[in-house]
Symmetry: C2
Subunit: 287 residues, 2 copies
């Protein structure tokens, strides 16, 4: 993977909004694994220097995604341990490390889903917002266990439509609503289960815009709000203040009018005090 190919991969990675934070982190590891094997280097030292630089480029491309930061950090920590190895051996070992970390991330998601399914049990109506691979794994765990779903369309990209199709494949009866109707339907749910892009040190959560509204409505109507995410989502202090990414306003298909500024912020913060429980690969922590 030469500079040009890497830079193209970074550009794609930077604007990818179809994959969630965990999937993007695994994508980043996949890119680094390929770089380890194929990037230009004549010495192990040169390889390590190039890879360190590329890891930083990938981290900077998605600054608000905690799992990208965390998994790349884990992988980067291995680099120096191969300083004394022969170039070819170092390349192979680093590629294997990337694969191992990808597996670790996938296993963590599976464990979160199993823990959430065990905790929530059968026969429940679950409310969710946006599309989370972890929540999707939870629904797969609950297939055939008399579960129902209430989901939002999730403007502007309507990830809710994708989720609806996936739930239909699992034969899970689903009600699809606009974000505007969150307050009307939340009391029909036994619980809210929602993924996260990042968890902040105080337990607050960064997730798709609208999650905060779901949490406010859930509290008002007495519906417990659970965050389902693996611990790789925990945002390290060293990441600094979170930046809530905005995307191109044209995604909203709003008319362009002089004096009217259209905003398309993708993420909001749900404060910890609105969260009833955090479910990760270890277990369930209630507030």
């Amino acid at each position: 993977m030469d500079d040009a190919v890497f830079n193209t991969a970074v550009e794609v990675f930077k604007v990818d909004r179809e994959q969630g934070a965990s999937e993007l982190a695994r994508q980043a590891l996949k890119i680094m694994g390929e770089c380890a094997v194929t990037c230009s280097a004549v010495t192990t030292a040169e390889l390590i220097a190039t890879l360190e630089q590329r890891v930083q480029t990938l981290k900077d491309a998605r600054p608000s995604m905690a799992p990208v930061f965390n998994l790349l950090k884990r992988w980067k920590a291995r680099l120096s341990t191969y300083a004394d190895k022969e170039l070819k051996q170092a390349r192979v070992a680093l590629a294997e490390d990337a694969i191992e970390l990808i597996k670790l991330s996938e296993d963590a998601v599976t464990a979160v889903a199993k823990n959430a399914a065990g905790f929530l049990g059968s026969g429940k109506t679950l409310f969710t917002h946006s599309l989370s691979s972890t929540v999707m794994a939870l629904f797969r765990e609950l297939q055939g266990r008399n579960v129902q779903a209430i989901i939002t369309e999730s403007r502007p990209l309507n990830e809710g439509h994708t989720l609806a199709r996936e739930l239909a494949k699992l034969s899970i009866p689903t009600t699809l609503i606009t974000e505007a109707q969150i307050g009307l339907f939340i009391d029909q749910a036994d619980a809210v289960v929602i993924g996260a892009d990042s968890l902040l040190p105080d337990g607050s959560m960064i997730n798709k815009a609208g999650s905060y509204l779901v949490a406010l409505a859930a509290r008002e109507e007495g519906v417990p709000f659970y965050v389902c995410c693996e611990s790789f989502k925990q945002r390290a202090e060293e990441m600094g203040e979170p930046v809530l990414e905005s995307m191109d306003a044209s995604e909203l298909s709003a008319p362009v009018i002089d004096g009217v500024m259209t905003k398309n912020c993708y993420f909001d913060i749900t404060p910890a005090h609105l969260i009833k429980g955090w479910i990760d690969e270890i277990g369930v922590r209630l507030s």
Copy 2:
């Protein structure tokens, strides 16, 4: 206006979602005024009987709209007072009554806007949801007074786009957001001003779905939430339990998927305890 023309007018009235509750009430009075002049009748008694029946038909067409109920009730109360009049005189008097009530309704909206503008004052950033003719009248009152607006697109029909165009004409700087971003932008506002379709006896408000979420976010962020509507919006006890109208799910342009039920409920209820003040044609009542 013979039966066929009246029935067509009722059908249009029934599905009209471009006009707010007050405008629909005036539309109903306009229809009844025309009926009074042109409907088939050879005696005053026959005229009154026909008009009573038609008033009921119009009321039943929009059962959740308090001003339709209230203004038609006011007009209907006049019918019996003309029982002794000559047919032609009765027709003219009833048409004039309809015009008078339309004027009363319009004047009430203007008075609400003036009261709200006086209360809120200059230099404020106001957050609103959906399109309310009363809130629009308020913005006209505040034109040139350094006011800014934050407004939602208001899915599914995007009345927010219409509002954005109107605000641009008034040179009021406007930020347009999705409903999902309500929680992200509410704290940039000095106050929420919102219209209502109906006010319930306990002070709760029926309005476009999403209003409840705005109120929840406003409370959480310490932004006062004001309802601006004339007293014709007060729902009478005799109207019974409110019915929250739903519309065709196809308006959401969601994919049609087996096992997925798409919902398009137009209204939600904002409980009185989330409302900081009610502004009507008389003045401002704070909670």
